[in-house]
Symmetry: C2
Subunit: 142 residues, 2 copies
């Protein structure tokens, strides 16, 4: 079990948009060439990022740009843009209410797993696009 490729792909897209701003027109086809996915996947993901207010896409003419500084965009913003808001773990629907374990498991385990998810969100919020871009620029191994 692992999270889908959407967060990594969306992050890749955002990094490219910023990195190539002013140098290339960052169209879905251009971005697809770097990420190596179908341009429609790029457009769908850009749509999610646009809905989340992270990018502006030039309809018709093409190309995208960030709506704010990479310093002010975190992986949590990206995560929320492309993933559903839900519990980290899926719970069994109808445990037996006549069993002391069955009638308490969701609350007892759920509250603890919720904290773990919160930690994950905090960790994602601590990573900015700016940090990633600097790492890409500085640690580039061509």
């Amino acid at each position: 079990m692992q999270f889908s490729v959407r967060l990594p792909v969306a992050t890749h897209i955002l990094l490219c948009i910023e990195k190539f701003q002013g140098k290339y027109k960052t169209t879905s086809t251009f971005l697809a060439g770097s990420v190596n996915v179908h341009p429609v996947i790029i457009r769908k993901t850009l749509g999610q990022l646009r809905t989340a207010g992270l990018v502006e896409v030039a309809a018709g003419v093409g190309g995208a740009k960030l709506t704010r500084s990479p310093k002010d965009i975190t992986l949590l913003d990206v995560f929320r843009a492309v993933e559903e808001e839900e519990d980290l773990f899926h719970f069994q629907e109808n445990p037996n209410p006549q069993c002391p374990v069955g009638r308490n498991i969701h609350r007892v385990l759920g509250t603890r797993l919720e904290k773990i998810k919160q930690h994950m969100m905090d960790d994602l919020a601590a990573i900015t696009l700016d940090e990633l871009l600097n790492a890409v620029n500085e640690e580039d191994v061509p």
Copy 2:
């Protein structure tokens, strides 16, 4: 995207096994009645827990018991028993190596996401079956 029901179900099973030890024979059918899943799901999960060395199952006669104290079983043990060992996020296979973002994204983003997964594992390791059982016993709302 969320993790499957396996960790919660496996935890439920372990709690029942300990809670009802000596009072009921914890067969797959008995456990299935508390969790509310098909007995075969219970047997499969018990098989994973057995492989991980967390439980002993009495073949033929039926019933299961923990191999060690609930104090010494953490949710990380359970997680590892029922989930594959893999990255938290799935990465795109072949990003463009000629693009500075494409050729660095996996390393730059991957190392950071790996730390997040490690935090998650640490959090899971801090929760024992004993703690959960106490919570179930003490906070029981019949």
